[in-house]
Amino acid sequence: MTVLEADEPPASATAGRVSRWWSRFASIEALVLALVLVVVARPWLVGLVASPRALAAAAVFVSLVLQATPFLVLGTLLTAGIAAFVPVPMLEGVLRRDSVGLVLTSPAISPVVLAATAVAFPGEPAFVLARVVAGLLAALAAGSLWRAAMRATGRPAVPPPVHARVLAGPRGWSGFADRSRRDLVRAGGVLVLGAGAVTTLAAVLPPRWLDTLAAFPAVAVVAAGLFAVLVSPRAETDAVLISALSQFSLTSRLVFLIVGPVVNLRRFAWQSTAIGPDFALRYAPVALVAAVVAGATMGGILL
């Protein structure tokens, strides 16, 4: 639990002068410095993106972030609201039940996520339905794979320690504000990374590369799954990100949405440090295959 919660170890505890010097600049001062730099470097920044292609890439990047942000805000507030205001016994009841898979992929199917998906894929109601069904299937699979991997690596079959995180921490309005502020800033940063990756694929690299990849259905499905692992988007924003890669078939884009919440790099890193690399190496590849199969199957049936 300590591993999980001490996200920001005090820098001064381990390091000497250098990190102390750095810690002076680690907050507001650095933010202010960054804003000043942006203002000072404005002509240079504008000159940097003077070519039509660079401006188009900038527009693509901004549009992805802009489209995803409202859903990210609503999703974050929803999650933080549940953690801060739902009575603890009720939360505990839900979490202690044997719904490991659902907890593992918990934010994958919320009203906000479904709304974001419906907006990102207008005129494709079957796509939203496919996301719900395949998401549930993948969650069930992830749950049993989690327990199997726990057993195989000789650990007691405990549920993922998400519980501790949800139940710990201040509740009420301050708890709500702390959680949502922190999650929003982090998830915002992750969104920016994802938007950057998608912009690179959609607006910087030659379109022919993606076209070639997308032309083979099986290759497209696998590529979409691996891309989800790398980008690790939040469920509220992933539909927006993948909607920009419209060369890919609906089925392969569904796979992207199903894989993301189940297996991704951030989770893998967290499982390796918090539980153990042997566990992570055993769980993640199988869960990835299960999520790809769930997505591809439902895509084949419904889309």
Binding site: A30, V36, A56, T69, A177, G189
Partner: protein, 316 residues
């Protein structure tokens, strides 16, 4: 990113969202229907950030810490408030988006300097141990989402889109995007076509003209004069095409629909020019080498330059 800095980062994000939606710049990047949601997000984020800053002021006062950290937080908050006020004001006075953006940036720049000096005063007055002055910062803060564990430093990246949107202010996608992708007609072609509306010429969207010309082999267009709007792109063998970008989710998935122009097309059109053309159906077809989809033609009888429309994209 520490607590106060996170709150200020969020205020900057809210100010950016508010500015883009109030000035109408947002429709360059997302559907007009998203604008109310963007405003709602801006309000929610500012309330959240305001609450965090307010509590941190209270905490600091309770700890008996003199107003040093308060000043930083308060003046930095005023930076962002000033920026949002400026943006709202500029929206009201309908300044062009680019100059409005520069005003906001300069306004915030000016107050940022105030904040910076306040901040340096703060650390100077604290003396030897600048990190110990707000013990609350070091309380571990559990997150509700396990996979978000890890340093919150990644949140700094939020500054990138804010800077790009407010400083660079990318123009709407246009000729460059349309030249990069092949025409995507099949995706937008509806089923059957009724007769055209009354009037001579008939105003059609470029997408509808292309769909009727290709799917119906121009039957519903025969003998009629139509009027289309779009921007110019370079076609094959130097002849201009007229194009329109169609968006389904946001500008990131904009794909072109193209119509070739023959007949009375003046020289001197350059890519990106918005024009309105009048003319009639002709059965000539190109095939777009990029997508393999057909590009129908219009036999032009009249042409004039127009201003770019407020909503630059067509809906699918």
């Amino acid at each position: 990113v520490k607590r106060d800095a996170q709150a200020i980062l969020l205020l900057a994000l809210a100010a950016g969202l508010a500015k883009l939606s109030l000035t109408g710049t947002a429709t360059r990047y997302v559907h007009a229907g998203m604008v109310p949601l963007l405003l709602l997000a801006a309000v929610l984020i500012s309330v959240l950030a305001g609450f965090v800053l307010w509590r941190s002021l209270l905490d600091a006062r309770r700890q008996g810490v003199p107003a040093a950290s308060d000043m930083t937080a308060a003046s930095a908050a005023s930076v962002v408030t000033a920026a949002s006020v400026a943006s709202a004001a500029s929206a009201a006075s309908e300044v062009t988006a680019a100059s409005a953006a520069s005003e906001v940036t300069e306004a915030s720049g000016a107050s940022v300097v105030t904040a910076a000096s306040a901040a340096s005063d703060a650390s100077a007055s604290e003396g030897a141990d600048p990190i110990a002055f707000n013990p609350l910062e070091r309380v571990p803060e559990p997150s509700a989402d396990a996979d978000l564990a890890g340093p919150a430093r990644i949140g700094w990246l939020l500054l990138v889109p804010i800077a790009v949107a407010l400083v660079v202010v990318p123009p709407p996608l246009g000729a460059d995007q349309a030249g990069r992708y092949g025409t995507e007609l099949a995706r937008h072609a509806p089923g059957g076509f009724g007769p055209l509306a009354e009037g001579e010429p008939v105003r059609l969207t470029l997408v509808e003209y292309a769909a009727r010309a290709v799917a119906d082999r121009g039957r519903s267009l025969a003998g009629r004069r139509v009027s289309l709007e779009g921007f110019v792109i370079a076609g094959t063998d130097g002849r201009p095409y007229l194009a329109r970008l169609v968006v389904s989710c946001c500008a990131a998935d904009a794909r072109p629909v193209k119509v070739g122009l023959v007949g009375g097309v003046p020289a001197g059109l350059s890519p990106g020019d918005w024009i309105q053309v009048e003319g009639g159906y002709t059965d000539r077809l190109d095939r777009d080498p990029l997508s393999g989809h057909p590009i129908p033609y219009l036999d032009v009888s009249g042409l004039r330059r127009i201003d770019p429309p407020t909503h630059p994209y067509g809906a699918s």
